[in-house]
């Protein structure tokens, strides 16, 4: 499902953010990505979500070669994955409902389907009552859950999340992790970058550890 091969990412400087990453993640697998700050977690997350392109090497996700995506195929790829960004990337002038509905709107789904599906996912993340609120008028945790709902609403084959429980209290963090595990159980590959070691230990999923831009543990299942 996800395949990294000799992947490098170098920023001007040069800063070698990722060096020779070789990874393989199976369909329906739940994987944690951990490592200290500056280890390259966010860069790897960006490569995996097609937010940015690698300097060299290959990434195969759901049949797409992310290193050579063109303008049309990058849009198609992004419609098939769900991404939770660390800074949420919510549109401030649209309601929670409209933000969550975005992936379905760009896909051209029927309004009645969008209505039902968005209400369903908002109910799952406990935000149905806040559907008409603007992001600036809800808490950080609620914004995070809105971002998670948006990443799940179109039932993606791969879910990639950067610190999805970073702003949540322990009870909500558990609920969100339970939700992600339920999604995984339905066949979605889940890839979670996190600092939360206690959660990683408690959940007992495969854990890939990065250090100085290289994989130091968990490269193979």
């Amino acid at each position: 499902m996800i395949e990294f091969s000799h992947l490098y990412k170098t920023y001007p400087g040069p800063i070698h953010a990722l060096k020779n990453i070789d990874l393989s993640i199976d369909k329906g697998e739940f994987v944690f990505l951990t490592g200290p700050s500056g280890a390259g977690k966010t860069t790897l997350f960006k490569m995996l979500s097609a937010y940015d392109r690698p300097t060299s090497g290959q990434i195969q996700v759901a049949g797409f070669d992310l290193a050579s995506l063109n303008q049309t195929s990058v849009a198609q790829f992004r419609r098939r994955v769900g991404v939770v960004f660390q800074d949420f990337k919510l549109l401030k002038d649209r309601t929670v409902f409209d933000n969550v509905a975005l992936p379905l709107v760009v896909r051209g789904d029927r309004p009645s389907h969008i209505q039902n599906r968005v209400e369903d996912i908002l109910d799952q993340v406990g935000l149905l009552a806040k559907a008409d609120q603007l992001p600036d008028f809800i808490s950080g945790g609620e914004q995070q859950r809105t971002a998670i709902a948006r990443a799940l609403v179109h039932q993606p084959g791969v879910l990639i999340a950067d610190e999805p429980t970073g702003n949540l209290d322990p009870r909500l963090s558990e609920e969100i992790m339970d939700l992600l595990e339920r999604v995984c159980a339905q066949g979605t590959t889940v890839f979670v970058a996190t600092h939360d070691h206690s959660m990683v230990k408690a959940r007992k999923h495969r854990t890939i550890e990065l250090l100085h831009g290289q994989v130091v543990a968990g490269a193979r299942p």
Partner: protein
């Protein structure tokens, strides 16, 4: 379509001042462009009316037979450029000449000797279907062709007056065209600036839309619509101001300057031309937006924004 109008209203809400200033500048630009087109169109009509008096005298050689005259006249009447080709014999020409000269030289009225000095001629009138801009060219062409005829002595068509008249029409047309091009370029720049500002203000939205899989045209569509709408609405407003101005001028021509009898020759745009004017204004807006959008989103706006930061 709802998405496009929501986008438009959001733009208006976020930078009301800029949108209104843009609309005012655009309305003024389209008003000036429309005025030039309207003046050009009506000047052409008035000059064409004056131009109807344009005619050439084709003087025939001594000894030209009536069959030859008829043959030449017949050929001219079949020519699409010619409205009328009337034969004027010596007697008729003399009478006309004497009438014109009577007040200056009364003695000429009884001078029958003049008859042998006056040639027979054909008075050729240019067809109304020839536009005022082309009249000079047509007159010169026709004079050249007729000058080659074996039965024709000379051709006269008031060359100096026609040249002046023609150069006025050509100058006004050229100057008008250039002014319109300049004004539309300026209008395009203003729209492009407004759309660029809208894009800058919505950078985050463009990134997020890209990241959830919106296609290039899904992102660009609302901005193109914004440009088209601003252009078309400004064009429509300019048309309303233009109609009010035209009516005022018409009233003035009917009152103070009634003796010129111009008011019934002047015409405002018809429905089709008015519609075309609004559409063309919208097209200017659309193209200006397209120019601003040419490098907007290639699928990697978010990563570029990250690098800029």
């Amino acid at each position: 379509m709802k998405r496009y109008f929501v986008h438009l209203l959001t733009s208006l809400r976020h930078h009301t001042g800029l949108v209104l200033a843009t609309m005012i500048v655009l309305t003024a630009s389209f008003f000036v462009s429309g005025s030039l087109v309207l003046v050009g169109q009506n000047l052409d009509r008035v000059l064409t009316l004056w131009g109807e008096s344009l005619q050439m005298s084709v003087y025939l050689k001594e000894g030209t037979t009536s069959e030859q005259v008829q043959a030449l006249q017949g050929r001219l009447q079949k020519d699409k450029r010619v409205a009328k080709a009337a034969f004027v014999d010596r007697r008729e020409a003399l009478t006309h000449f004497q009438e014109q000269m009577a007040s200056y030289a009364p003695d000429l009225l009884n001078d029958e000797q003049l008859l042998k000095f006056i040639p027979e001629s054909l008075q050729v009138q240019i067809s109304q279907s020839v536009s005022s801009i082309l009249q000079m060219k047509v007159l010169q062409e026709l004079a050249g062709e007729l000058g080659q005829e074996p039965t024709v002595e000379s051709v006269s068509y008031g060359q100096d007056w026609v040249k002046t008249y023609s150069s006025i029409v050509a100058t006004v047309s050229k100057a008008g065209m250039w002014m319109i091009v300049l004004i539309l370029a300026a209008a395009g720049f203003v729209i492009s600036n407004s759309v660029s500002s809208s894009i800058h203000q919505r950078k985050n939205e463009i990134e997020v839309l890209e990241l959830v899989g919106a296609s290039k045209w899904m992102i660009r569509g609302p901005y193109l619509f914004e440009g088209f709408f601003m252009g078309a609405l400004s064009g429509f407003l300019a048309l309303l101001v233009l109609a009010a101005g035209f009516e005022t001028i018409q009233n003035f021509l009917r009152g103070e300057l009634a003796f010129l009898q111009l008011s019934h020759h002047l015409q405002f745009f018809g429905a089709a031309h008015a519609g075309l004017f609004v559409l063309a204004s919208g097209a200017v807006g659309f193209l200006s937006s397209a120019f601003s959008l040419r490098k907007l989103n290639d699928g990697w706006a978010a990563s570029k924004a990250g690098q800029e930061a």
